[in-house]
């Protein structure tokens, strides 16, 4: 049963008298178990430190710091050119209608709905659905990924957020005209999007908002959006978990400071990038 064709060296060993050997083993045992006990003590202290740290938006502050660290890496390596895979139209299914936050208003009337846009070079704008639907329409069949873990392939129709921004350009940090082709990074750093009553709100980094697969959608699987899926207009942002794909958009604001975010205030990662 001798096996290997490989040459395996014997383990280093020593032959001692029984008394010496016992002393040697006892010493090694004593030292290493003391080290192990010290390590276990350090571990217990680390655990107590972490689990007793102050909370920061629903999770322990050191964990929040780690999420920000991960975000810095994700943002530094983010590319608008890397796309989420797309699928044939016939693989599209209806996603679960998770999340009622911001949709509670029973008086809401899609017919009189207006979208308010702020932070634009032309000042504040109020738009109706017809104005949005007159913008170039993009269709996309992509996997919608919920932060819970499930995913569903869905067909979406709407306007690319980048095309929307080109038609209704924000003021830029440099003061020059907004131009995605020539100055893709000369944009306000953040976008805040809220439901009409402000019951649900998401914060986005502009890089993700201007990703070519980020849509302002009014159509799902070839049908107009249903109310539970966000009629009349919702965001679809495949570079983020579904929590960022806010339904029933009432207000979009370009801004410098990091916008508040509904789920980030409840323990989740603000960035939530994929």
């Amino acid at each position: 049963m001798s096996s290997s064709s490989r040459k395996v060296p014997p383990l280093p060993e020593v032959v001692l008298t029984e008394a010496e050997g016992r002393a040697r083993v006892a010493k090694a045992t004593r030292r290493s178990f003391l080290a192990a006990a010290a390590a276990a003590g350090g571990l217990a202290m680390g655990w107590r430190w972490l689990t007793a740290s102050p909370m920061e938006d629903g999770i322990r502050a050191p964990l929040r710091s780690m999420l920000r660290f991960n975000e810095r890496i994700a943002r530094a390596s983010f590319s608008r050119k890397r796309l989420t895979p797309t699928f044939p139209r016939e693989s599209a299914l209806t996603p679960r209608a998770n999340g009622k936050a911001g949709l509670e208003d029973e008086e809401f009337n899609p017919a009189t709905w207006r979208l308010v846009v702020e932070g634009l070079s032309g000042g504040r704008q109020s738009l109706g659905i017809a104005e949005l639907q007159s913008l170039p329409k993009t269709e996309m069949v992509a996997e919608f990924k919920c932060i819970e873990g499930w995913s569903t392939v869905v067909q979406w129709g709407g306007v690319r957020f980048a095309d929307f921004a080109t038609r209704f350009p924000p003021t830029t940090p440099s003061g020059k005209p907004f131009d995605l082709a020539d100055r893709p990074d000369d944009v306000p750093p953040h976008v805040s999007i809220e439901t009409p009553g402000g019951g649900y709100y998401v914060g986005l980094d502009s890089d993700s908002a201007l990703h070519p697969q980020t849509l302002l959608a009014w159509e799902m699987n070839g049908e107009p959006l249903s109310e539970e899926h966000g009629a009349p207009l919702r965001l679809v942002i495949p570079v983020k978990y579904g929590i960022k794909s806010i339904k029933r958009i009432g207000r979009i604001a370009w801004q410098d400071q990091r916008p508040r975010d509904y789920w980030a205030e409840r323990g989740y990662d603000w960035y939530a990038g994929l």
Partner: protein, 237 residues
């Protein structure tokens, strides 16, 4: 007193042969990995709870659902998704770094030669299993790791690597979509990530049983490094 590893003069009285079995670095990697992997598994279960779709069954028949309600209640898993994700995405770094350090050390030091199975290992591993089940009576050869250990320990390292890769594939499925696609897509990568974790539970069970069976001398070598191979405290394989 001669140093371990030095040539030893013949001795006339009763002797004791002591092997330096596990290098200090490997002992640290092993024991540091234990709480790290435990943290990854525990936080992973907090995440899995939010969409617990996996089961063993055929068609509409479910033999076992991962997990029954009592498991969630006993382990206090429900409603902790955000907490689970925060822990998971913090400790993933330490788990990955410790694993990479271990693999790097094992390759550079030459310790891999004791670990990686060879062509004959499957045949020998069968003999080990027969021996451990009490079917084969002849003693096993004295080596750092027998073939069954080589296969199991190498597999667990590969599983760790696969956990990192499948984890990355579901952590950044857009920015790393090539990796996600390579692993069969997002749901497949998540499926694999889950079953690797179940594999760790199976490994832990087997490992604990075998460590208890092997006895104190063997266990101590994973802490103190030394194992008595011939003398009063020898292990009887």
């Amino acid at each position: 007193m001669p140093e371990i590893g030095a040539a030893v003069p013949p001795v006339t009285e009763r002797t004791m042969r002591i092997e330096r079995k596990h290098p200090l670095a490997i002992r640290w990697f092993h024991w540091v990995n234990f709480p790290l992997l435990a943290t990854m598994v525990a936080s992973g279960l907090l995440i899995y709870w939010a969409n617990d779709v996996y089961r063993v069954g055929i068609g509409g028949f479910t033999l076992f659902h991962f997990f029954p309600d009592w498991v969630y209640q006993v382990l206090r898993l429900p409603q902790r998704l955000a907490e689970g994700m925060a822990w998971h995405f913090a400790f993933m770094w330490f788990f990955a770094l410790n694993g990479l350090a271990y693999v790097t050390y094992t390759v550079i030091s030459g310790e891999w030669r004791y670990l990686v199975p060879s062509r004959d290992s499957w045949q020998e591993a069968l003999q080990v299993v027969l021996h451990d089940l009490g079917i084969r009576k002849a003693p096993l050869p004295r080596r750092k790791f027998n073939a069954a250990q080589q296969i199991t320990y190498s597999a667990i390292i590969l599983m760790g690597a696969m956990s990192l890769l499948s984890g990355l594939a579901i952590y950044r499925p857009v920015q790393l979509s090539w990796l996600t696609t390579l692993l069969g897509g997002y749901p497949a990568a998540r499926f694999g990530h889950f079953w690797l974790t179940m594999g760790y539970f199976a490994f832990l069970l087997l490992h604990l049983v075998q460590v208890v069976r092997a006895g104190w001398n063997n266990f101590r070598s994973m802490v103190a490094g030394v194992e008595v191979v011939d003398g009063p405290e020898e292990t009887k394989p």
